[in-house]
Chain length 278, copies 4
């Protein structure tokens, strides 16, 4: 197929031929088809009002799904760890209010069942990309999985993680490039956008990009979101907050609702320029 | 204390003054005192005979503890995943036979109880360094924890992970440097030995080094083990296999028993040269 | 201006306010204005016929400048080192034939005078980004300088290198992102596209992107070229070869003329989608 | 010879068999033999008094050669760039006074002749490791060359650089590991000590280690110097300053003379423990 070779032991995640493409369906939304799916919302669910305000704003701007963390893995035990089940309930209320399906992170095998009750897509965070008991558990779940790349995972290790989910019987895996760790100092991570067309060569799974974590700076989110679409990404996951300066996590990289709305207009134009649409 | 500053939010793992040093006790063995503790054994427990032969050999050569994996996190679901509980039983038999306390990996919160029944030290592998539910669970365990550094963890992220265990009430944390991911191609990882004296400046926790994973090549294990001792490490964890060419995992980086014996002689000399002993 | 801070010691390269933008002129071509300048050509000048064929093809496809190496820095002394002055003469012939200004690399202070006679833009390669005597010498030259980023240069080190040229009196510096060295194995380098909008925040200098070296694979060049334009790049430098399989260097990452032509069509559409043009 | 393979195109730098070892002679000093050569001195030559005081102190403590920079490559043009020829003269005076041969950096082909008049060993800095005209020029010089590893050079690229010097006819090349660039934040670079035994497997050239640049912190220099000796290094190059807080460059990583003296005692013990001596 190409001059780019991956291990032949990656059986289920690897692409068989040019036409081999997986489209993941979340209700009416398709990820991996012609339309580019934009997922947006706050880093953490903080309160009903915060979540509802943001959910309505991103819905109005054209987002197709709502993101929001209820279980938050944090570097230190003293940081805000999320509202947990209360956060899940609020996400589910926001879905009822806006119609947006919900993407939220799951951090342990024993809470997968709980999260599944409320969420439409189960997110595996970068820190858990090689948490194999968790991958096996979501492999048995009835919901699609958004699998973030670990900070220093090679493409093959990432596809190896997907393989655990696929081998468990869950074929609905969405890969999410969210930046890798390099020597760079001015950005939080280095967004490896070339991973998008590279993955398109070697796997049939859809690929979305997280320009918020991938850069760490609000000013860089829109340009990298446009670039992601131009590189062939099937979707984006973008952090939006109505009061970024008060956010309990990741405020510096969160767009304001009005910035997000402007971005959606830009993205529509870029999508059309590469033969796709929002 | 020094010109090297870490976040003041790392409360429990940080060093208060020059005399602030933790010694972790495993039976009669002390880790963090004058003597350097060498932990040795196979990557994976493969069979009773394999384990017993290796355990006796490393005991005779002077190892203080036995390592061996029963639950093996592997990049692909098709690789050997360990003997699981049967492996734990064999490790416990090897302890009875040799008197060596056992260090083995735990990969999920729900199996911590099981592993605790058999093991003397609970190992958290690099892939799980930021698996916070697991860290919280071993924080409640009654056994010391050997916490490996994640492939791309900064020193502060690593100490943040230790903080979860300490905050849970388990003060017996041993840090293990096992190589970081860099651009290097001829070695499996880049062993960051400077992390040893750096940690000695900022934390009271003992530090051991894994020169096997840290290099990936048998020929580099002995020089880097000697270097680790000279740099101030409190211990080593070394892979030894009686038939490396047949090993189910990590054969290329496993020492043969006779090489390990020779290494122990060398390490004794280096330890004395820096005012310590095996 | 922004929340992204660089050292105040970077005086000449740093941006003073939102309107502070440098446009570098090469004949009629402007780099840093509304139009996106595409520079294309072979990695190495190999023969008159090779160069003329490629030069005509890229001209016809819409390229604005011709690239081609006459002095080639190579990892080993036994590799093809370029045609040197003969290569410069051929480049100059190709300019006469096509009207395309010529960009070519200069590798030592003592050959700057010679290269200046033939070239329109002096390229400083990644390996020489911190070759300060060379930077000082091109700082005195009368031609614009295209300054490639070193494999592991931070943004500040890169701007520090530009500062040497600017301080020498040559204000026509074009920055070129060409990929950084990371742990990635399937691509030659990791193209750090976020450097483009980041540089737009902190410097007034124009920025171009090299998707050929940045990825190392022909299949990834077009998607990353589109992404570069969408991210805000002022230009591209793309390797094109009429017989990539016979190229003396970098064949695997060179586009064929027909692929380049197709790419130019795509780039025009993406450029318009972000309010620019080729 | 080993399971570690390098390109067969590295002809002159590669090791032919176990006994293939090069000893570089600088006057009476041998680098690569049983004795470990310690090179010490200030980062920059700043004044006659500064240099003489330091030279005498390191001589008395047992250093075998004097280091000191006269031409200083600096990230910004506004930083102290060295005393240049005046610095070379002072170094040569210090040699007369102490008998210590002098190691100093050369930064351009056209100044090699000048530096050769004063220095005993020509240092190629990390930034110039792939400055091929410079490598070719020192390949024709009559003095040994100390070749520092570039910040992100692979082992093969480093040996490729050595190959340029060897191919030029100068067989006296000393490799110097000085730290690589990684994601680490608390140290200036990551000292890749495993490069020492790795190089011993694949090349016959002697290897020295720079624990000063390699760590960037005075407190880490002694432990890493000891570790380097234990790993098999043939020498060390250490920054010493009599007033580190006033140093024009690299003060934070410079040892005080009394610290250096203490280190020399420690190194003697470690050297003996691995069958060598200072």
């Amino acid at each position: 197929l190409t001059g780019i070779e991956i291990s032949s032991r990656i059986k289920l995640a690897s692409k068989k031929d040019d036409l081999d493409t997986t489209i993941v369906r979340v209700g009416d939304i398709k990820i991996g088809g012609e339309a580019i799916a934009v997922i947006a919302g706050p880093c953490s669910v903080e309160s009903r009002k915060q979540l509802m305000d943001i959910a309505k704003a991103v819905k109005q701007a054209g987002a197709k799904m709502l993101r929001g963390g209820a279980f938050k893995p944090r570097t230190l035990p003293y940081s805000f760890q999320g509202l947990e089940e209360e956060g899940l309930r609020l996400l589910s209320e926001a879905r009822e209010e806006t119609g947006l399906p919900v993407v939220t992170e799951v951090v342990s095998p024993e809470t997968v069942g709980l999260v599944e009750e409320y969420a439409d897509v189960l997110q595996i965070g970068a820190r858990n990309m090689q948490n194999y008991p968790l991958l096996r558990r979501v492999g048995e779940a009835g919901k699609p999985v958004l699998l973030k790349r670990a900070l220093s995972a090679t493409i093959e290790e990432w596809l190896g993680a997907a393989e655990y989910i696929l081998a468990g019987g869950n074929g609905d895996v969405i890969l999410c490039e969210r930046g890798i760790r390099t020597f760079g100092k001015l950005t939080r991570f280095t967004l490896d956008l070339a991973a998008v067309p590279l993955l398109k060569e070697v796997t049939h799974l859809p690929v979305v990009v997280d320009p918020s974590h991938g850069t760490g700076h609000r000013q860089l989110v829109a340009p990298m979101a446009r670039a992601a679409v131009a590189s062939g990404a099937d979707g984006l996951i973008v952090e939006v907050h109505n009061e970024p300066e008060k956010a309990k996590s990741d405020g510096a990289q969160s767009l304001r609702p009005e910035d997000f709305k402007a971005l959606m207009g830009e993205l529509g134009a870029v999508a059309r320029s590469v033969g796709r649409r929002l």
